[in-house]
């Protein structure tokens, strides 16, 4: 082999680590297996028509969900590897460099490629159905958002075996992440992967903001919206206002690395603190971006499984919006120790503590909703009830960390690690899993098995406390984050051992969850009613899974908990109800106050205007991937065609003539008849 080829290959592929060879082999094998299955069962056309080109929010939501679970697995494996290395002092399981790469990709993947797609999965699956819309405002943009996320995630994941992973932490602070100290393509992978998927996230934020403000069914005023929609509106505002800061931070750091500029370098007048500020101006709202939708899901789940309307709806909305505002005023609490001075630190400390108030309001509202409710301990409810103590502890330690003087003690210790895992896992992951169990029948038409779900929950929940409670202690004893080894005489050994056991228990919980999914695909109870939980909001008025146009007739809403009110009306609170037709009608009313004359269906069916499927979002994102890959390795011969491809895709869209079509009435009738709803 010529020397140049060997030289290229040793830099291009990551060599010399058995774990990486294992990863290489598994990537090749999985890819081959997927190619084989698709070819053998002649599924290529199906994949392209049904999934790769779809603009249907329900299918996009399912793809987000699958991607999020896969990334959860990848990030979880990273966590297990780290905990294995730390189980006892002096372990030789991971090299120090490999450990650095793994904590970097663990954080990056869990926040940006697990939590984000997971919330977007829930946005897509639930929001249009809850507000009585037939799709989001911009279905084509929605597909672009998904594929941009997908190819961004691919870019980061491939860095593991090609070129080397980023290793400067998930926050990627310069000067460590700058050109002098992070040589090689690793950090470029990070910057471009986040940039590409960030564009997708921004698209989703705009899309759902407009969808919720402009596409609600007639009669659904803002204060009649389900709380999940409110939480999505809040998260969308945060995305719109926060992501540009990340875009700027990443772009400027990329210029430093690729073009030799001096934004964040130590020489020539650069200021690394500017990156850290920009990063956290995005980064702190980001944690609310992922946790607010979880709050929304808890609100839905608690109300449904307590058979009560949510306690304190207006205060729930107010606290969501208060958090939106406050989340912009706390970013400097991530770097109290950088010496901004007592005035600045006091401001940010107080602002951070104040966030505890609206959050506390929400916790009490959930508890009061359950109070005297007829509680059913289903899987979504288990995750919700498990969330509350978790979040209370996480919130309390958060207030401790928010106190600037004491933060000098906690900063970058395992106390911090335990705190943010408690709010991010206890808040976001529990919330998303509750949402997944809750809306699973709506997505797939069958339930997840409750028995498996309980096992998964208890393994995960107990594992969580076993894993993270010792970390608070070991943090107070002085153990700092991001170390791959520690001395054996610090008194940390037992706590680390216990923590690792907890991590494995959480791993078992995740495996049980996956087994639940697999089991239920074959044996799960089929949902024939469309309303398996006796739900309260409009998505449960539809069959499971919903037809691709969602609503044959756009519902008219007259009160909060629209579907519940309508069911109450049917149950006999109203006198002249035509029972057969009442099932379909979503003309709802606040039963006792303004009883309607009848619940007849609102008029004849009309042709439905729907967006056309398109393969271009996929192609556009592939072009972004090529462009990004070219920049990672500074192969401009590759980046330029990728960039031209992006422009060509945009132009082609602009010139496209027929972007939508009408579903004829006969076809709607046929579909509705198949569901037994005509």
């Amino acid at each position: 082999m010529p020397a140049s080829v060997t030289n290229f290959a040793t830099h291009f592929f990551v060599l010399g680590d058995p774990l990486i060879y294992g990863a290489d082999a598994s990537i090749v094998l999985v890819t081959l297996a997927i190619l084989f299955v698709l070819t053998y069962f002649k599924k290529w056309g199906w994949l392209w028509r049904e999934w790769l080109t779809t603009v249907d929010h329900k299918k996009i939501g399912i793809m987000y969900l699958i991607a999020a679970l896969l990334m959860f697995f990848r990030g979880g494996v990273d966590a297990i590897l780290m905990r294995t290395q730390l189980v006892w002092p002096g372990m030789h399981f991971l090299q120090s460099e490999h450990y650095n790469e793994i904590f970097t990709t663990h954080g990056t993947i869990m926040i940006l490629f697990m939590a984000m797609p997971f919330i977007f999965a829930m946005f897509n699956i639930a929001v249009p159905l809850q507000i009585g819309a037939r799709d989001v405002a911009f279905p084509y943009l929605n597909a672009i958002s998904f594929w941009m996320f997908f190819f961004g995630a691919m870019l980061l994941n491939l860095s593991f075996v090609i070129g080397g992973s980023p290793d400067a932490g998930w926050v990627s602070y310069p000067p460590l992440a700058g050109p002098e100290y992070s040589i090689g393509p690793g950090e470029n992978f990070y910057l471009l992967a986040l940039q590409i998927s960030g564009i997708g996230s921004m698209g989703t934020g705009i899309n759902f903001f407009v969808t919720i403000l402009k596409m609600r069914a007639p009669g659904m005023t803002l204060m009649r919206m389900p709380l999940f929609c409110w939480s999505v509106l809040a998260a969308s505002i945060l995305i719109i206002l926060a992501f540009p800061a990340l875009t700027a931070a990443l772009a400027l750091l990329l210029f430093d690395r690729l073009a030799g500029s001096h934004f964040f370098t130590m020489l020539a007048g650069g200021n690394p603190m500017m990156y850290i500020n920009l990063f956290w101006v995005w980064g702190h709202p980001e944690v609310y971006i992922v946790v607010l939708p979880a709050f929304g899901i808890f609100s839905e789940v608690v109300a449904t499984f307590s058979r009560k309307r949510t306690f304190g709806y207006a205060s729930m909305v107010a606290s969501l919006m208060t958090i939106v505002v406050l989340s912009y005023l706390v970013w400097a609490h991530h770097f109290f120790t950088m010496g901004a001075g007592p005035g600045v630190n006091s401001f940010f400390a107080l602002a951070s503590m104040i966030i505890g108030i609206p959050t506390g309001v929400k916790v009490f509202n959930w508890l009061f909703t359950m109070y005297r409710g007829r509680i059913r301990m289903t899987a979504p409810m288990l995750w919700t009830v498990g969330f509350i103590p978790n979040f209370v502890i996480g919130g309390a330690t958060g207030v401790m960390l928010a106190s600037a003087p004491t933060d000098y003690q906690y900063h970058n210790s395992y106390f911090l690690i335990a705190h943010f895992h408690q709010v991010l896992i206890g808040g976001v992951v529990y919330g998303m899993l509750a949402g997944m169990y809750y809306w699973w029948p709506k997505m797939f038409g069958h339930m997840l098995n409750e028995r498996w779900a309980r096992h998964a929950f208890w393994w995960f929940n107990i594992g969580f406390y076993v894993c993270f409670m010792p970390q608070y202690l070991v943090g107070l004893m002085g153990m700092t984050r991001r170390i791959y080894d520690y001395p054996g005489d610090m008194g940390w050994n037992t706590l680390n051992l216990v923590s690792t056991i907890g991590a494995y228990m959480m791993g078992i919980g995740f495996i049980l969850l996956v087994l639940d999914v697999v089991y239920s695909i074959f044996y799960g109870e089929r949902d024939k009613t469309g309303d398996p939980w006796d739900g309260r909001t409009l998505e449960w008025s539809l069959p499971s899974p919903a037809p691709h146009y969602n609503f044959a007739r756009i519902p008219i809403v007259t009160a909060r908990d629209a579907w519940w009110i309508m069911k109450e009306a049917r149950r006999g609170d109203l006198t002249d109800v035509s029972t057969t037709e009442g099932v379909e009608s979503v003309r709802v009313t606040q039963s006792k106050q303004t009883a309607p004359q009848s619940l007849k269906q609102s008029g004849p069916l009309q042709p439905i205007h729907m967006p056309k499927d398109s393969g271009r979002p996929f192609v556009l994102s592939v072009c972004f991937f090529i462009f990004g890959w070219g920049l990672v390795f500074q192969w401009y011969w590759m980046a330029i065609p990728g960039f031209l491809g992006i422009l060509a895709s945009l132009l082609a869209r602009s010139f496209e003539k027929e972007t939508s079509y009408h579903i004829p009435v006969e076809e709607i009738e046929k579909t509705e008849a198949a569901y037994g709803r005509l």
Binding site: A137, F138, M202, G205, I206, N207, F209, V210, L213, K214, M215, A217, P218, G219, I240, L241, F243, P244, A245, T247, A248, A249, L252, F255, D256, A259, G260, S261, H262, F263, T265, L267, A268, G269, G270, N271, M274, L278, V281, R553, I554, I556, S602, G603, Q606, H609, L647, L651, S654, F655, S660
Partner: protein, 209 residues
């Protein structure tokens, strides 16, 4: 008409509104684009703040006073402000359904945009020839990035406007092309607003200090 019927008819044209708002799709796209402009504005705001932090960090190299060309940036400002006016005229004639006048004013806008870019490029080339490169100091990194980012936006706008112009020329003014004309106009006005800030924050303050 009941609420439901009104909703079902929303896809059809509503003649009380200007053409670009007359379909639900058009209205949604315009609203969505306003929201996009919020994100773009914040992106600029972040780069502006970075410039504000770094513009004194000249690293013993070229200073703002040393490299800014008063005639050049004054001309750029006048040209871009005028182009915003002509773009507005285009929208006005679009609403009146006068295709010829619309095309004419958009063409004028494109020509003005091109001359703006030409001036900016010649300014950049002169700077680089005088040793004021992006790699020289934090000030120059921030200067080229901020002004260059605006320039890239304008360049993109020129391509975009040309594509919309072709569509109007071939397909006429209708409910599909009208929102496009309107949105690219919004984009152009937005770039004008950003330039006003660049003029103030970069050039005027730069000349004063």
């Amino acid at each position: 008409m009941t609420v439901a019927e009104h909703h079902l008819h929303e896809w059809e044209e509503d003649h009380d509104l200007p053409l670009e708002y007359s379909t639900e799709e058009g209205g949604l796209k315009i609203f969505g684009f306003w929201v996009f402009l919020v994100t773009d504005m914040l992106l600029f705001a972040c780069v502006f703040s970075t410039y504000a932090v770094l513009f004194r960090h000249t690293n013993y190299g070229p200073t703002p006073v040393g490299i800014f060309d008063v005639k050049g940036f004054t001309a750029e400002t006048l040209i871009l402000l005028t182009s915003s006016f002509t773009s507005g005229l285009g929208t006005l004639f679009m609403r009146r359904g006068q295709k010829g006048a619309l095309i004419g004013w958009v063409l004028v806008t494109i020509v003005l945009g091109l001359s703006f870019i030409g001036l900016e490029l010649s300014e950049f080339i002169a700077d680089v020839q005088n040793g004021a490169t992006m790699q020289r100091s934090a000030f120059l990194s921030a200067f080229f990035t901020l002004v260059g980012m605006h320039g890239c936006h304008v360049t993109f706008g020129i391509f975009w406007m040309t594509s919309v112009l072709i569509q109007v020329a071939v397909r006429g003014i209708n409910t599909v092309t009208a929102p496009k004309v309107f949105i690219v106009g919004l984009y152009w006005h937005f770039l004008d607003v950003v330039w006003v800030f660049i003029f103030t924050v970069v050039y005027l303050i730069g000349e004063l200090t």
